[in-house]
Symmetry: C2
Subunit: 226 residues, 2 copies
């Protein structure tokens, strides 16, 4: 179920033949980003693509009134910012780090070089973009047809998956209420009320801003996805 809503494009690197992978890793230039730093902004032209080594990045659109709609949150191991390069257009949205991150940059030239020389990379990108396309279609239908309560439950599950750490028992979702509301498609106050209800029902617990899911099965039911 959760794969319907996450790109999880880490397989691009892991399934790439070793010489191609080494080429990629050699041309990447790492840069550290502090929390809340923009990586690229809507309307600007791309000069390369990005790979998230560690940390988290949100992709969002800002409307005329300054409201954010978070489209997606990238996790370590995911490429981003490549579709504007491929469609030869300006960025359609803005990306900002939501925690300290290390992000690698690959110039357009190098990107095109590997595209021309590696049919595996092309094929993996086609696969990944196709999956990403279907994730957005799923999110579209959710935004249109599901209640806020259902959407909050779903987004908590998505975030649980994104914040999960291997070999660590407890998962804490560490995201501002503002960002959580903006990815759910609601306002902060409504989000807080739903979270309050979930706490009352022992579905989640909070410690400051951190959220821990206590009853995943029940949240899946509420999200109405099974």
């Amino acid at each position: 179920m959760i794969t319907k809503f996450t790109f999880n494009s880490q397989y691009i690197l892991s399934e790439l033949p070793l010489p191609d992978r080494e080429f990629l890793e050699n041309i990447m230039v790492d840069k550290k980003y502090r929390k809340n730093q923009p990586i690229f902004t809507e309307g600007t032209l791309p000069s390369g693509i990005f790979y998230l080594q560690s940390g988290k990045v949100k992709k969002y659109k800002m409307d005329n009134d300054g409201r954010e709609q978070i489209i997606y949150i990238y996790n370590a191991g995911e490429f981003f910012g490549y579709s504007s390069v491929l469609s030869e257009s300006t960025y359609g949205d803005t990306t900002v780090s939501i925690e300290n991150s290390i992000i690698s940059f690959i110039t357009i030239n190098d990107f095109n070089k590997i595209l021309e020389n590696s049919s595996s990379f092309s094929r993996l990108l086609l696969k990944s973009l196709s999956h990403e396309f279907s994730v957005l279609a799923n999110l579209m239908a959710v935004l249109s047809q599901r209640t806020v309560r259902e959407r909050v439950a779903l987004n908590l599950l998505i975030l649980h998956d994104k914040y999960k750490v291997d070999n660590v028992d407890i998962t804490y979702i560490m995201l501002s209420r503002s960002d959580l509301a903006n990815m759910t498609g609601t306002v902060i106050e409504t989000l807080a009320r739903v979270l309050h209800d979930f706490k009352d029902d022992s579905l989640i617990s909070t410690d400051g801003r951190k959220i821990e899911l206590l009853n995943i099965e029940r949240l899946i039911q509420i999200a109405n996805f099974y």
Copy 2:
């Protein structure tokens, strides 16, 4: 503005080198579809991809309660159903013809053959998928943040573009109110009210089910895209 909301992937064929194009056209198998016929349904596995020679096809998701969210309406000259092939997954949605259509089918084998042999085709698909991805991101933000009135205006403009015929003066949008509501993300009654308001303000006129836009500039303003 309208290109933010339409795939318009007709360039895949027109920009394909001639030998590749001829290969494609030779392997396509045409089939006629009557209005309201399904082409593929959500959850099934793909056996090939489709090309819309003439007519129109809607792509939609059905939720647990039987409500439709139309994701996109394909126009003649557009490929569809290829992202499930590329991502090696079941179809994430259903496609149905919304008028009599002629649709060509290309088997997975032939599709993979041309992918392997034509880097131009791969590159054009990457370009198209990237643009389609950005269209869905735009639609997502619209569904989340815009009023129904704004969304109706926007969808009328999108449909005006889709129903436009070269060398013909008047464009009639010929789509059921149910489908129009389902692509706008609202219910039939609300849609009818907004259309009624637009008619009162001489922004549109109707003849039976057909809708003609009378004041495109004003609708663009109402849609809040400029």
